[in-house]
């Protein structure tokens, strides 16, 4: 990985940290979108598309309902895809390593997100006291401070994560401990995760069960006759 690529990934880490909850929530931070961007940065868009989809299936069941705590899907997508792409040996991805990175990054990112929310408490209190003194610019300044802090945290956690991913990838390269798996194996595991995650999250009613059966037939037809093999 070149310095320019690492720099772009770190900048992407800042953007997706903000998109995940503090700003816009345009879902640029979802793994299925982050994966292709990482693939584009690392000059292998096809690998990025596959791994973005794989990590998206892992995160399907995670729902930010209310003020619930949830894993950082953006960091999981970014670092998991990077781990898969930088550790590839021939046709085999270090799949076990990449998924382990995605799981751990999800937890780590959640801890950083909680830290940001606690710091935001101080910013909100300062905004409140300044508005009480008549400053109408205080909310805007508070938002600017919180967003800058978020971008810095996003970039920093990505930089630390990248260092761990590259070091770990080097240690595991070529060993069975990386959980080597070819694209077929990865796709099969992710398709199973998509089916189970989707059915669990969306539930089963009569209509939903019918849609699931119809979808299964469509999936078989897509691969058998539609050239999606």
């Amino acid at each position: 990985m070149t310095v320019a690529e690492a720099g772009l990934l770190i900048a992407l880490g800042a953007v997706v940290f903000l998109d995940q909850w503090p700003a816009v929530q345009a879902m640029v931070s979802r793994p299925v979108v982050v994966g292709p961007i990482v693939g584009w940065i690392l000059n292998a868009p096809g690998d990025g598309v596959l791994w973005g989809a794989v990590i998206e299936t892992m995160q399907l069941a995670v729902q930010p309902v209310g003020a619930a705590r949830y894993p950082d899907a953006a960091l999981a997508g970014l670092l998991g895809t990077t781990a898969a792409m930088t550790g590839i040996q021939g046709a085999a991805y270090p799949a076990g390593w990449a998924v382990a990175v995605a799981v751990t990054a999800g937890w780590g990112g959640d801890a950083v997100g909680r830290m940001q929310r606690r710091w935001n408490g101080g910013t909100a209190a300062a905004v409140r006291s300044r508005v009480a003194q008549g400053s109408l610019g205080a909310p805007g300044r508070g938002i600017a401070v919180a967003l800058s802090r978020g971008a810095t945290l996003g970039a920093a956690q990505t930089a630390v994560g990248l260092a761990i991913v590259l070091a770990g990838g080097r240690l595991l390269a070529g060993t069975p401990w990386a959980g080597p798996l070819d694209a077929d194996g990865v796709r099969i595991a992710a398709a199973a995760m998509a089916a189970v995650g989707g059915a669990r999250v969306l539930g089963f009613g009569r209509r939903r069960a019918a849609a699931l059966v119809l979808g299964t037939l469509a999936g078989v037809a897509l691969v058998t006759w539609g050239g999606a093999a």
Binding site: P22, A23, Q25, A26, R30, V32, P36, V49, L50, G52, A53, E56, T57, M58, Q59, V62, Q63, A67, P71, A95, G96, V99, A102, R117, T123, A124, R128, V131, G134, L136, P139, G142, I143, D182, R187, I188, A190, A191, A192, M193, A194, A195, V196, G197, G198, L202, G205, A209, A211, V213, L214, G215, L217, A218, G219, L222, V223, T224, A228, A229
Partner: protein, 267 residues
Amino acid sequence: MKRDAGLSRRLRRVRRRVALRSTLLQAVWNYDSLQAVGFAWAILPGLERIRPDPEERAQRVHAHLESFNANPYMASLAMGVTLRMEEEIARGAAGAERRLARLLRALRGSLGAIGDDLFWTAWRPALGLAAAVAAMATASVWPAIVYLLAWNGLAQGVRVAGVRAGFAAGAGVARVLQDPFWAGASRAASLAGSFAAGVGLGAGGAWAVVGGGEWGGGAIFFVTVALLWLAGTRVGPRGRLMSPALAFLAVVILLGAIHHLSKGAWP
């Protein structure tokens, strides 16, 4: 436009600014006042029109810094309602301030429930599933692009329309929340998501048979599905046996071991 007839001329022009600012609603999210700072900042352009005096304006902004939380896309509806009620408060309507506080407390729950059900429980998993399965089948970036367009078409559309609808409805906002659109959109997304989950199941099975090695590959796929299903099963009061992500890690390691032991050829 006829639909704008209920909007006061002073506020019509700031509607889009409020909707745009609502994208930063959660910027200062914290465990004490939740989204309050983002909420107060978003409605500030409207308050500027209603309260030209900075001191009075600061008092109203301060009142909105107490606490607020709702689904981030649906919150713009509460912003529209707030501006409408702020106009009444500025006109000196009796009890308007108390009515607004009560209404906002009630809206927090309703907007959270409807928005979370529509966006987080139905649309996001459904679109994510469809995009992930399509991406695996086509190896193209188009599913990701379509995902972004579809999500933002709905989510940002609700944001923009919410300010207008909330302002037009004012205290009668319950009418907007009872619109069958919300339940219909959730149902449609659940059906589409179930269809996409089915496509994943069918395509995964077929990939395993075609690309993974005849019926041995198919058997491995269905054992994988069974293991993942089992991992999500509720066990006693402690909930799931294993988190989906950890179950997926276990499955990938298992498949990797099979792949390694069979020296790269699927059984």
